[in-house]
Structures are given as C-alpha cells and as structure tokens.
C-alpha cells in the first residue's frame, strides 16, 4: 500500500489542565471520505486545529504524504494542500464572494517561492478569474459573485467557504460541520460536492453531527470521546460497535426512542 495521504500517530494536546486529545491515531487515504464523529466537546474541532496548525500538538506526529508537518505554521500546511472550513464560519464579511474565493488561491499560488511574482496581477486576469469562477459555478454561487459576504444568508456562506477551499485544489480538506443550517437541497448539493472531491483524489475529513449524512458519504469513520479514539472502521461497523453506541450513537438512539 502506498504512503497514506494523512497519518496521525499518537497526537496529544493539552489546554491548561484539560487533556483535549490523547494519543490519537488516524489514517486517511487519497480519495477517501473520512468521517470524524463524537459527542460535543469530544475534541473533534481541536483535532482539526491540530492537523491544520491552529493548535500546536504536545505529542505525536502528523504526516502529510509521509512528511512530518506538525511543526509547520498554518499557512505552510495550507500551501502543502491542507484546506479547512470552520465550524463558526470565518470569511471576510466586508469582501465580496469573488474576493473571498480568490483569497483561497493563495494556498496554491504561494506554494512556490515564485508565487509572490503574480500578486500584482489583476483579479480579472485569466489565472485568477478562471479558477475562481469554476469554483463558484461548482458550488452554485456564481450569481452571488459580487455580493458582500455579510449580505448572504447563512447557508450560502458555507458554500463560499467551500469554494474558497476548492479553488486551491487541496489534497486534504477538513470540513467542520459543513451541513449546519443547510436546507435539504443544499445538503444534497454538499454531499455531491464531497463525492466529487473524493473522486478527484482529495482526502475529505468530515466532522458532522448528521449521522445520516456521515453514513451515506463516508468510507471510514473515526469516533472520538473525551479526547480518545474509541473506534475506527466503516460506518456500518461503527453502528455495531458497543463503545460507539454507548458513547455517542447510544445517546442519539436514546433520544430517538424518547421522542418516539
């Protein structure tokens, strides 16, 4: 088997007195959709932060295509092909959709030292406009290109963030609860985008509460609870795993039963 796209080994992270992550292992292959689930506060967003570099890990290693990246700052990892969305959407509110997506190009353009040479290029030049427009079309927000992000409905902003990631053609994309606040149609659109990305060979790591969506989309699922990995396998296996059911699905099931 070839070198995995992303490999975490024994990743640990402490915040003050709290052990947020302990000894997490995770392997993701190119073209895989990897679900990352767990109860609230389990450490999913922290783990994403560790992979992208927002959080510095205290122990363990993170390899991208076999190379260790845990010491690199956020923007360097982005340039190596690690993209992400945020649970609480982070976009430049006062800029237009087009400009926000164009900013996503930095990861690709600055990946080489000569990237600085093109910074004075006009936004209308082909090298910028074409990929941005493609991403806008793919995410279905082309008609909003010149709107300010602040004026968009919440659901649309998810797609702006996605387009901003897509435009850089990342190798790994981490989606932090991308379906929150989406309509059913938008949710379908999102699933289709995720599949397309995977088909293109991107590793998609999906943090999501909608287990339905996770079940439909993911090839593999990692479940964490209290900062520890308690399961790794296919979604189908996860449904039968005792620990997972107890920790997470159980509570959801209980909730469903209570509803019924």
């Amino acid at each position: 088997m070839s070198i995995p796209m992303l490999q975490l080994r024994g990743v640990s992270k402490r915040f003050g007195g709290i052990q947020a992550l302990q000894n997490i292992d995770l392997v993701g292959q190119a073209g895989e959709v990897h679900g990352l689930i767990g109860p609230n506060g389990a450490g999913k967003s922290t783990l994403i932060g560790c992979i992208t570099g927002v959080n510095r890990i205290d122990g363990g290693e993170i390899r991208l295509r076999g190379d260790r990246i845990e010491q690199l700052p956020v923007h360097r990892r982005a340039r190596l092909g690690v993209a992400r969305t945020f649970q609480k959407i982070r976009l430049a509110q006062q800029l237009t959709v087009f400009e926000n997506v164009a900013a996503g190009l930095c990861a690709k353009r600055f990946a080489t030292a000569s990237g600085w040479r093109g910074v004075l290029a006009p936004l209308s030049s082909r090298a910028i406009a074409e990929p941005v427009e493609d991403a806008l079309v793919a995410t279905g927000i082309a008609d909003l290109a010149d709107e300010k992000v602040a004026s968009l409905p919440y659901g649309k902003r998810h797609f702006v963030e996605l387009a901003r990631n897509l435009v850089a053609e990342p190798d790994v994309i981490l989606l932090d609860e991308p379906a929150t606040g989406l309509t059913d149609d938008e949710r379908e659109h999102l699933s289709m985008l995720v599949r397309q990305m995977a088909e293109r060979g991107t590793l998609v790591i999906l943090v999501e509460h909608d287990l339905n969506l996770v079940g439909r989309l993911c090839d593999t699922v990692t479940v964490i609870e209290y900062g520890r990995r308690i399961f790794n396998g296919t979604p189908a296996e996860a449904q039968d795993d005792e620990a997972v059911v107890r920790a997470y699905l159980g509570s959801a099931k209980l909730a469903k039963e209570a509803q019924a």
Binding site: F86, Q94, A121, P122, A129, D146, A168, E186, M192
Partner: protein
C-alpha cells in the same frame, strides 16, 4: 453613476487641481503642495490600517526618520538624490524592524506599541543634538532646485499617481485581496495559505516607506526641520486626516488631506484666535457625524453601482463540470 461619468469626474478633479497654479496665489499653492505631501503619509495609513487592518499611532516617527535622514545628509553635503534614497531606505528598514515584534500584536496593543516607537523617535530627534541640532532646528537643507510651480506638479503627479495605484491595488489586484483577507480575518487567511506575518511585515515596510517619502519631501520642500514637526500629536493628526478621508480609501485620503490642511488656514479669516481652532474641531465632528465612512465612504456610495457592473462574467453561463441534478438554489 455610470463608469464613464465616474472617469469624467476623476479627470475633472485632477484637471481642477492641475489648474491651481493659475487660479490661486503662492500662499494657497504652498498649502496645496504641503497637503499633497501630507497625502503620502495618509496613504501610508491607508495601506497599513485601511488595507491590512493594522493600527499605528506612530506614523510621525517614520516621517521624522525620513525627513531627518534626508535633512542631515543634505546639510552634510550629500547629493539630494542620494540623500533622498537614504531618506527612503532608513524608515523602510525601521518599519521592517518594528514590524518584527509589532506584527505579533493585535488592535490597540499594536496601536500603543507603535505610539511608543513614535515617542521614542521624537525624543531621539530632540536629544541627539550633535546629529540633528535638536530643538535648535535644522536649517540649510539642500533641495532639488524646483520652483514652486514645478514642486506643485511634481507632488501632484506623485500624489495622484499613488492614489490611482493604491485604488487599483485595493480594488482590482490579487495583492489587494490578500491584504484585506488579513484585515478581516487572520485565522481564515492563514488557513487559506496566506503568511499573515509576512503580509504584515510587508505592510509595515510599505507603510514606513510611504511615510518616509512624505518626510523626505517635507524636508526637501520646506528646507528646515525641527523635532516639533514629528511629535506624537502629529501621528494623531495624520490619523484624523485618514479617518475623515475614510480609512482605506486613497481617493478619500488625498481629498481629506487637501481639506484638512486648507481649512485651518482658511479659518484664519475668523481672526487669529482660539475661535478658529474651535471651528476646526467642530468641523471634524460634523464630518464624522454626517459621513461616518468619511469622504471615501461617500465616493464609494456614489460609485458602488459602477463596480458591480464592471465585473460581468460571461464565462459563468458556460456549462463547466456541472452538477447535473443539484444546481445551487438561486437566492
């Protein structure tokens, strides 16, 4: 306003400015020259605060470094062109060096940190008597040998050219997007591969360069320097010009530095008393009340429809690798 009329308006503005030497006497021409020179330091705030979102209370420090480097060297007999080059280099390097620690600071921590830099430069210029002649003032500075009208067209060309370049940078170029991404959200900017620290260093150096160029021109034009020209209060005056012009709008910056330089002089008509400054203070308040976005905000409001229409995207209609069944819903 259509794009054509916007261009006509811009051209008209520059044309009116260009006829100034024929319309006003030397006194007002001098004011215009000073205002245009000051517009450079306001641009430095446009780049730093307006584009990149970094607040500086110490711009007078860079202006002073540029001015005194030029002044001291030229008094020592260095050729004006060489002195000017040094006068641009020294503040730029200082901006870079200050940026190293300052780029890690946020918001008001940065503002006060840079205020410290401004205070330090001010005190140094005053206390290093052997070099700067301190409070005795530096006289006998050599200049480029321009007469007043030449000076006017020279600084007009510089100010208008820089204004156009900055507007272009801001609205049309990739670099503009990079800078503004850092301004609005550093975390998402770095997640998109933008080296926030490097961008901030670049902004600091560019801003210091612009402020330094203002200092060099001030020294070369006025041909005297005193440390009092570069005290912290000046930094705040530049900031006032920037805010009245609309931080981040280069067009607003040039108009506001013209207005805010001319008004205190025009108000001498109220008599040489405190009333004049009282009216000045009130005027600033009124501008802010009625134009919270400054002059640039007003320009933007007039121009916004233009911006939307000038970026039509015919390619968007073409079916690219299209989602077949699930197109995004039109909002």
């Amino acid at each position: 306003m259509s794009e054509t009329s916007a261009w006509i308006l811009r051209a008209l503005f520059v044309a009116v400015l260009a006829t100034l030497p024929f319309l006003v006497n030397g006194y007002w021409l001098n004011m215009a020259i000073l205002a245009l020179i000051y517009s450079l330091v306001v641009y430095s705030i446009t780049v730093l605060t307006g584009f990149t979102g970094l607040l500086s209370f110490g711009q007078a420090g860079f202006v002073g470094l540029g001015g005194y480097t030029y002044g001291v060297l030229s008094v020592k007999g260095v050729d004006p062109a060489a002195a000017a080059a040094w006068g641009l280099l020294v503040p730029t390097v200082a901006g870079f060096l200050l940026g190293l620690p300052a780029a890690r600071l946020r918001g008001h921590y940065l503002a006060i940190g840079t205020l410290g830099f401004g205070v330090l430069v001010g005190q140094m210029l005053n206390n290093m008597v052997d070099v700067t002649r301190g409070p005795m003032g530096l006289l006998g500075i050599k200049s480029f040998g321009f007469d007043r009208v030449t000076w006017f067209y020279f600084v007009l060309a510089l100010a208008v050219g820089l204004c156009a370049a900055l507007e272009y940078l801001d609205r049309r170029t990739f670099l503009g997007v990079v800078l503004k991404s850092v301004k609005y959200d550093e975390i998402s900017a770095s997640a998109s591969g933008i080296g926030v620290f490097a961008v901030k260093l670049l902004a600091f150096s560019a801003s210091a360069f612009l402020a330094g160029s203002c200092g060099v021109l001030l020294a070369a034009y006025m041909r005297f320097l005193t440390p009092d020209l570069f005290i912290s209060a000046e930094s705040f005056r530049y900031l006032m010009m920037s805010v009245v012009g609309g931080v981040g709008s280069a067009s607003g910056a040039i108009i506001s530095s013209l207005i805010l330089t001319a008004v205190p002089e025009a108000l001498r008509a109220f008599g040489e008393t405190n009333v004049r400054l009282l009216v000045y203070g009130l005027m600033v308040l009124f501008v802010l009340w009625f134009l919270p976005g400054g002059i640039g905000g007003l320009i933007d409001r007039l121009m916004t429809p233009v911006r939307r229409r000038i970026t039509p995207r015919p390619r968007v209609a073409e079916p690219a690798p299209q989602p077949t069944s699930l197109p995004g819903r039109a909002s």
